[in-house]
Structures are given as C-alpha cells and as structure tokens.
C-alpha cells in the first residue's frame, strides 16, 4: 500500500547532515579494491588497447570483403541479364532464319533462273499467272 510521505526539507537536510559524516567515515575504512583487482583491470585495458587496431583492421577487411562480394554479385547479375538478352536476340534471328530457310519459295530461289522470277514474285503474293491475267469477271467497258 502506498503511504503518504510529507517531506520536510529542512528537517530532512538536517538529518542527512547528521548521518552522512558517520556513514562516510565508516565506509572510508573499507580499503579497496585490492591491488590485484586494479592490476587485472589495467591488464585488461592494455590487452584491449593492443587488440583494438587488429579488430579495426579485421572489421575493415570484413567490410571490404562484404563490399567486394556485393559487387561481384551485382556484376554477375548484370552479366546474366545482358547475356539472356543477347540469347533472346540470337534466338529471334535463328527463328527468322529458320522461317526463311523453311519457306519453299525461298528454298527454290537457289535454282531459279531470271526468267522464273516473275512467276516466283506472283507466287509469293499468293497469285498465279492464269488468274492474274485472265480475270473471270470479263472485259470491263472502258468507256461510258
């Protein structure tokens, strides 16, 4: 349970001033810490100070290697993207070439003579000589 404490400052300070010297005198009798403890602390301080540059160098090397690893990863990623794009382009060219090569008209081109060319051109357009020159809809009147 909480108690209501009325602190009277003057009385408080007076009490404290009365008690404090005795307490301080009592505690002043405590010698220490021992020289062994102080020496151990000093030794630890020396050890840590000696290790600190090594630690700094280690962490620097660690950061450097981490940065190098990230850089390597990124360059690998960029190279991969670049290569996959190149492969796509290559595949497109190959597909186009395949299409071209598989076309019977183009295949026949090698054996065609100059006189065959008009025929070939019509074939490529999906026409033939007969239907082109002899239209089925008859002769159209050329005058009104």
């Amino acid at each position: 349970m909480k108690k209501d404490v009325t602190i009277q400052e003057d009385a408080e300070l007076q009490d404290l001033a009365e008690i404090t010297p005795w307490v301080r005198e009592g505690f002043a009798r405590i010698e220490g810490p021992s020289a062994r403890v102080l020496a151990a602390i000093h030794q630890e301080a020396v050890e840590q100070a000696r290790r600190r540059p090594l630690r700094i160098r280690f962490f620097f090397a660690l950061r450097l290697s981490a940065a190098a690893a990230v850089l390597l990863l990124l360059s690998g990623l960029v190279f991969n993207v670049w290569r996959s794009r190149g492969q796509d382009q290559h595949q497109q060219v190959v597909q186009l070439l395949n299409l071209t090569v598989k076309n019977p008209i183009v295949e026949n081109l090698g054996s065609a003579t100059p006189s065959d060319l008009p025929e070939l051109l019509l074939t490529m357009q999906g026409l033939d000589r007969e239907s082109y020159f002899n239209a089925s809809d008859g002769t159209e009147a050329l005058w009104l």
């Binding site: 008690i19 505690f27 405590i30 010698e31 021992s34 000093h42 301080a45 840590q48 100070a49």
Partner: protein, 193 residues
C-alpha cells in the same frame, strides 16, 4: 574526504575517448576517479568485500570492452547503469531470480555486518570509531531499494535526477526512498547509541 574534480581535468567522455585511441593511462585515471564511489557502493549493496571486488572488476571490464561503442552523453550515468545491472544479475544468482526492486524488507538480510572493518587508528577515539561502524551497520540493515538510493547519493554524490534515471523510477520515488532511508537510519542510530 571527497575527491573533487577540477574544471581543468579532462571529462570522463574525453578520457574514455582517449583510451579508445590507445592511451591506457586515461582508463587508469577513470578507474581512480570512480574507484572509491563504486567500490563502496558495491560493498554497501553486497555486504561482501570479495563480491564487491568481483563486481568492480566486471564493471570495468565491461566499460573497457564497450569503450568504442560509448556514445552516451553522460559516462557517469552509463557506468552506474552497468553497475546496477551487474548487481541485479549478482542478486539473481544469489537469491534465485529476485530482482533488486522486488526485495522486501524481510528478505533483505544485512550483509554488512560480516564486513571486516579496519580497527581504530591512534588518532581516532574509540567512541567515534564505534559510531562510524554503527552507522555502517545501520546502512547495511536498510532495505536494498533504500540503501542503493542512499549510497548513490551519499557515497556516489549523484544528483537525484540521475539516480531516478539510473533506477528507472520517477524522481519522487527516488526522493521518497531517500527520505525513508534517512528516517530509518536516524532511528536506528538513536537506538544503537
């Protein structure tokens, strides 16, 4: 007599910074600056000289190992915070998970009585020595929560705002504990005389 730090002497943070740069002597200066306050506080709180020595050593080892990471405004508050955490851990180990704040008056046995104090010097009257020892015993009989505030104020010279911050309690709580400790000590000393 209390050691006073003059304005010309380097600040705690400066000394720690210089130690972090490799000047071991600066750490020795820091240890010397707080040696008495901290050791007395540990003795007062544990009642055992050897435990106080262990805690004192652990405290400085923590300070040394974290010197690079120290970015706090107040070194003193940081150091006292470590001291208190060490004490809480120590008490947990000794009292099976009882936190310093949870220790009740009944559970808190005075350990200071076991402390071997130095005998009176020829200059000191026997009566005076006796009173100083009684004052120490009386402090040892205070509940831990009151004792830590009392010793932080009287031996550590810490302002109440800082004590409240270290203990993570409102300022009024710290003041209240100090008031209770003073009242109790006065009463106990009256009975002892």
């Amino acid at each position: 007599m209390k050691e006073e730090i003059t304005d010309t002497s380097p600040s705690d943070a400066e000394l720690l910074g210089r130690y972090a740069q490799g000047e071991v002597g600066c750490l020795d200066q820091l240890v010397e600056r707080y040696r008495r306050q901290l050791f007395t506080w540990f003795v007062g709180m544990t009642g055992s000289r050897s435990d106080a020595e262990d805690l004192f050593q652990d405290l400085w080892i923590r300070v040394i190992r974290n010197a690079d990471r120290f970015k706090d405004v107040s070194f003193r508050a940081w150091m006292w915070q470590i001291a208190r955490n060490l004490l809480i851990d120590f008490r947990r180990k000794k009292k099976c998970d009882i936190s310093l704040d949870e220790v009740s008056d009944e559970e808190d046995h005075p350990l200071l009585e076991t402390l071997v104090a130095k005998g009176p010097t020829p200059q000191q009257g026997v009566e005076r020595t006796d009173l100083a020892l009684k004052a120490m015993q009386a402090v040892g009989q205070l509940p831990a929560v009151q004792r830590e505030v009392f010793l932080m104020r009287v031996e550590g010279d810490l302002p109440f705002q800082e004590i409240a911050k270290i203990l993570k309690v409102p300022l009024n709580t710290a003041l209240g504990r100090m008031h209770d400790a003073t009242t109790r000590l006065k009463q106990m000393l009256k009975e002892m005389r």
